[in-house]
Amino acid sequence: MIKPVPEFAEELAANGGSSAMLCFQCGTCTLKCPSAKYTSLRTAHIMRASQLGLKDEAIDGDSLWQCTTCYTCVEWCPRNVQVVDVITALRNIAVADGMLHESHRKVAQSLVKFGHTVENNEKIKALRKELRLPENPPTVMNNTAAKADLDKILNLTGFDKLVK
């Protein structure tokens, strides 16, 4: 049986998703959602589950991760629900509960390792050289002191452990 979680409203608000409470279920977000054409994502359903404290209903399964954050729903919402912020909040809650797809973990680990979500490689280095660009751009990945600063931030926010 589906059980509501009474504290869920607070958890959602603490993660920046309180505007879900404004939703009056007109369904415009779902109608306008490009992902809904192809996937099980039903934004209006997620907003309702959030209002009712149905945490599992809101965060379980693939639906939550099938939003591209295109903001079309936010443009059309007549109640000014910040739908993408709600989805982001729910995703944060899901990840804190240990629900992180392996492909996403890899992207996150790349940030921890290189300071970028995409890595450089030999082919690109050669092309950069051809284009009279330095093989490595002058970013955090090319300066160990700067990388240590970034590492410190990722450690202070607990991100390094979260995505390990």
Binding site: W65, T68, L111, L127, E130, P137, T139, T157, F159
Partner: protein
């Protein structure tokens, strides 16, 4: 001379360095100085890192903003993702002094501070609003002439209440910019549709992302497009890398590359050999 901190992001320097080269050339030609934002990191990516942990996203973005502030410069980005991420982060930090304070406590550990002075700009916005279409037209040596499907992507214009750049349903900025380069911007529906890559879809649900991309390509092809022009390396990657499998062959150019061609850059300097869908000029 206008001057900006140049934010590279990830996909441009490590997948399409031709976009970096073209942007540097085009801005130089137009008299806008780009200063490298040394030590910058990933913005970080809004659809993934922000989805995993918002506090981390905000602190890392604030570090990038603080690095630019130290130089006394506004940031210019060449990617909708970087633009959305840094713009939204600056907005969040601006609207709530408590959040700004918390983030600055973290930044103080690495000797940085963000006060809110540095603003975040999209390169197409700078071209349109600061440089202007007339000046661009004067810099064009080789009008390009392609029948072009402009592709705005999502985070350039949306959420429009915050960005306030153009009508997200019927935008004009890129159409006018592309026409300034001597290309024809086709009147078409779906200019501001989503490419499908964002929000972590490309990495986790690649096949779903492709369905978005296919719908876009079908429309463009039916309208008779000869070329796609984008303003986001992630849309660029999505269109460039997926067409072979989807059975399409529309060349994909970032706006900086189209401008590079129009302003007389050598074809070899556009980095087109990094493109998976061939671009024949």
């Amino acid at each position: 001379m206008a001057k900006y901190a140049f934010f590279l992001g990830c996909i441009t320097p490590f997948r399409y360095p031709g976009i970096e080269r073209s942007t540097r050339e085009v801005f130089k030609t137009l008299g806008v100085e780009l200063v490298d934002l040394e030590d910058a990191s990933c913005c970080p990516a809004p659809g993934v890192i922000k989805s995993f942990n918002k506090a981390t996203w905000l602190a890392v973005a604030a570090r990038n903003l603080a690095l630019a502030e130290k130089k006394g410069l506004d940031i210019v980005t060449i990617c909708n993702g970087c633009y959305g991420s840094l713009f939204d982060a600056a907005h969040e930090l601006h609207k709530d002094p408590k959040i700004l304070d918390d983030v600055n406590k973290i930044l103080s550990e690495i000797g940085l501070k963000y006060s809110g002075k540095t603003k975040v700009r999209h390169f197409a916005e700078v071209l349109y609003k600061e440089v202007g279409v007339e000046k661009i037209k004067k810099a064009v040596k080789k009008p390009t002439g392609y029948k072009t499907a402009v592709f705005y992507g999502c985070h350039f214009l949306k959420p429009s209440k915050l960005k306030q750049l153009d009508d997200p349903e019927d935008p004009k900025i890129l159409d006018e910019l592309v026409e300034a380069a001597g290309a024809e911007s086709m009147s078409r529906k779906g200019k501001a549709m989503c490419c499908g890559a964002g929000g972590g879809l490309r990495s986790q649900f690649g096949e779903t992302a492709m369905k978005f991309t296919k719908a876009n390509l079908e429309r463009m092809k039916a309208d008779g497009a000869e070329m796609i022009v984008d303003v986001c390396p992630f849309c660029h990657l999505q269109f460039d890398a997926s067409q072979k499998e989807l059975g399409f062959d529309l060349p994909v150019l970032h706006l900086s590359q189209l401008f590079g061609i129009a302003m007389g850059m050598d074809a070899e300097d556009l980095g087109l050999n990094a493109h998976i869908t061939p671009v024949k000029l």
